[in-house]
Amino acid sequence: MRGFYSRKIHSLLGVIPLGAFFLEHMLTNFAAVEGGASGFTDSVLWLNSLPLVFFLELFGIWLPLLYHGVYGLYIAYQSKPNLNRYNLERNWRYTLQRITGVVTFIFIVWHLWDTRVQVALGKVEHDQLGGVMHNIVTQPLLMTLYIVGIVAACFHFSNGLWSFLISWGITVGPRSQRVSSVLCLGIFVIVTFMFVLSLVTFRNDEFQTAAVAMQSLRSFI
C-alpha cells in the first residue's frame, strides 16, 4: 500500500481504537482506587461481559496494536535524531515520541505476558488479575519498571494526540499548535496521575487476599 494511506491508518489507529482503549484501561484501573479490590474486579468482569468480547479485543486491540506497533517501530528506525544540533522543545518531543514508542512496545509485551496471556493459558482467571498486579507492584524493581513503562505510554499517547491533530490538518497555525501543546500536556499529567495512582493502590493488602487465593489455587493445580 502507498505510504500515504498506510501512514494515515497508523495515525488513526493510534487514537481510535488504541487511544480510546488506553483511556478505558485507565478508568478500569482507577476503579481499584475508588472501589478497592472488589471495585476493580467488578469492572474487569463487566468489561469481559461485553457482547462479542473476543471480536472487540481482536479488532479493537490486538490487530490495531500489532499494526501500529510494528509500523511504529519501523518509523522510529527510519528517524535520524539530531538533538545535538537542534536542542529544541518540539524536536525533543519528536525524539521522545519515538523512544517512548519503543519503550511502550516492550512494556506492552511484558505486561500482556503477565496478565492477558496468563488468562489465555488458563493459569489465571480474570477476577484474579488484581492479585497478579499486587504481586508485581510490591516488588520495588518491577514497580519501577512498571512506572517507567506507564509514564512512557502516557507521554506517547498525549504527544501522539498533539501530532495526530497536525497529521490530519486539524491544528494548522502556530497558535492552535501551541494551545494543543498545553492541552496535551494537561492530558499527560492527568493520565499519568491516574495510572500511577492505580498502580500504587494495587500495593494495598486487600489485593493480597486475591493474590494468596491465587497462589493456593496454583499450588493446588
Partner: protein, 254 residues
C-alpha cells in the same frame, strides 16, 4: 605613541574536505588574518587566493558555491559550527572559533563544500510547483488575489531552495525518501494562487505518492532553521488538511 597597534588577530577554520564524490572526507585547518566584516565566503576567497593551510603547506584551494552573496540564491548553504546556513551571511564576528565548516551531507557531496541539490529541483518538478498558463491563445487576465492572501503567499515565495530545512529534518535521510518541507510549502503557495488553484489536485496527488507528505514526523526543526523565516510547519499542516480532504473526496467520489 599613545595607542599600541592592535595585535594582528588570526581566525582559525577547520574545514571538512572531500576530493571526489566517492572518496572519504578529511579535515584541513586554515588560519587567516582577521579583517573587519569578514564572513565565511570572504574567508574561502582568501584561501582560494593563497591556498596554504595552517601548517604552512601548500594545498588545493577549497571548493564552494555562491552567487548572490546576499542570502537570496541559496547556493552557499553549508554547515557552519554545526548549523546549516548560508555562508555569505555568516559573519566571522558572530561565530565561535575555531570556525568548523562542513558540507550539508544530506545531499551528495560533489567536492569539498559543493553539494548536489538536484533532489530539491526534482521535487519541485514532481509537485508541479508552477502555474500552467502556456497555451495556443491568450487566456486573458487571471482572477485577482486578495491582498491579505498575497501577503502571506509572498512569504512562501521567498524560498530559495537552499536545502537548510532538509538538512535540519531528522526524517530526511538515507533511510527515507521524504520529499522535505520546502516542496510541501511550495504546493501550499501554488495551491493558494487563484490560477494555480485550478491544478491543486495534481499537486496534492503528487504529495500523496511515496516519499510525499506522510514522511513528516512533526519535529518542527525546519521552521526554526529556515533562513527566510518561512512558516513551514503551517504549510505542512495546511497541506495535511488539503490531502486529507482530497483523500475523502476521492473515496466518496465527489
Amino acid at each position: 605613541m599613545a595607542e599600541t597597534a592592535a595585535a594582528p588577530k588570526n581566525v582559525k577554520f577547520i574545514i571538512t574536505r572531500q576530493d571526489e564524490p566517492e572518496t572519504s572526507p578529511y579535515t584541513e585547518e586554515f588560519e587567516l588574518a582577521y579583517r573587519p566584516g569578514m564572513n565565511v565566503i570572504s574567508a574561502l576567497m582568501e584561501i582560494q587566493r593563497n591556498p596554504v593551510n595552517a601548517k604552512g603547506d601548500n594545498t588545493v584551494p577549497v571548493c564552494w558555491e555562491s552567487n548572490c552573496l546576499e542570502e537570496v540564491c541559496g547556493a552557499c548553504s553549508m554547515v557552519i559550527n554545526g548549523k546549516p546556513r548560508q555562508a555569505c551571511a555568516a559573519l566571522i564576528d558572530n561565530l565561535e572559533q575555531p570556525v568548523r565548516i562542513e558540507p550539508m551531507k544530506t545531499f551528495p557531496v560533489v567536492r569539498d563544500l559543493v553539494i548536489d541539490r538536484s533532489r530539491m529541483f526534482n521535487a519541485l518538478k514532481r509537485v508541479k510547483a508552477w502555474i500552467p498558463i502556456d497555451g495556443t491563445y491568450d487566456l486573458g487576465p487571471g482572477p485577482r488575489m486578495p491582498e491579505k492572501k498575497r501577503q502571506w503567499a509572498y512569504e512562501l515565495s521567498k524560498c530559495m531552495t537552499c536545502g537548510v530545512c532538509l538538512e535540519a529534518c531528522p526524517n530526511v535521510n538515507e533511510k527515507t525518501d521524504f520529499i522535505g518541507p520546502a516542496a510541501i510549502s511550495q504546493v501550499r503557495l501554488f495551491n493558494a494562487h487563484p490560477t494555480g488553484e485550478m491544478n491543486a489536485e495534481e499537486r496534492l496527488d503528487a504529495l500523496m505518492e511515496d516519499g510525499g507528505i506522510d514522511g513528516c514526523g512533526n519535529s518542527q526543526n525546519c521552521v526554526r532553521a529556515c533562513p527566510k523565516g518561512i512558516p513551514l510547519t503551517t504549510s505542512i499542516a495546511e497541506i495535511n488538511k488539503q490531502t486529507t480532504k482530497h483523500m475523502f473526496k476521492r473515496w466518496l467520489g465527489v
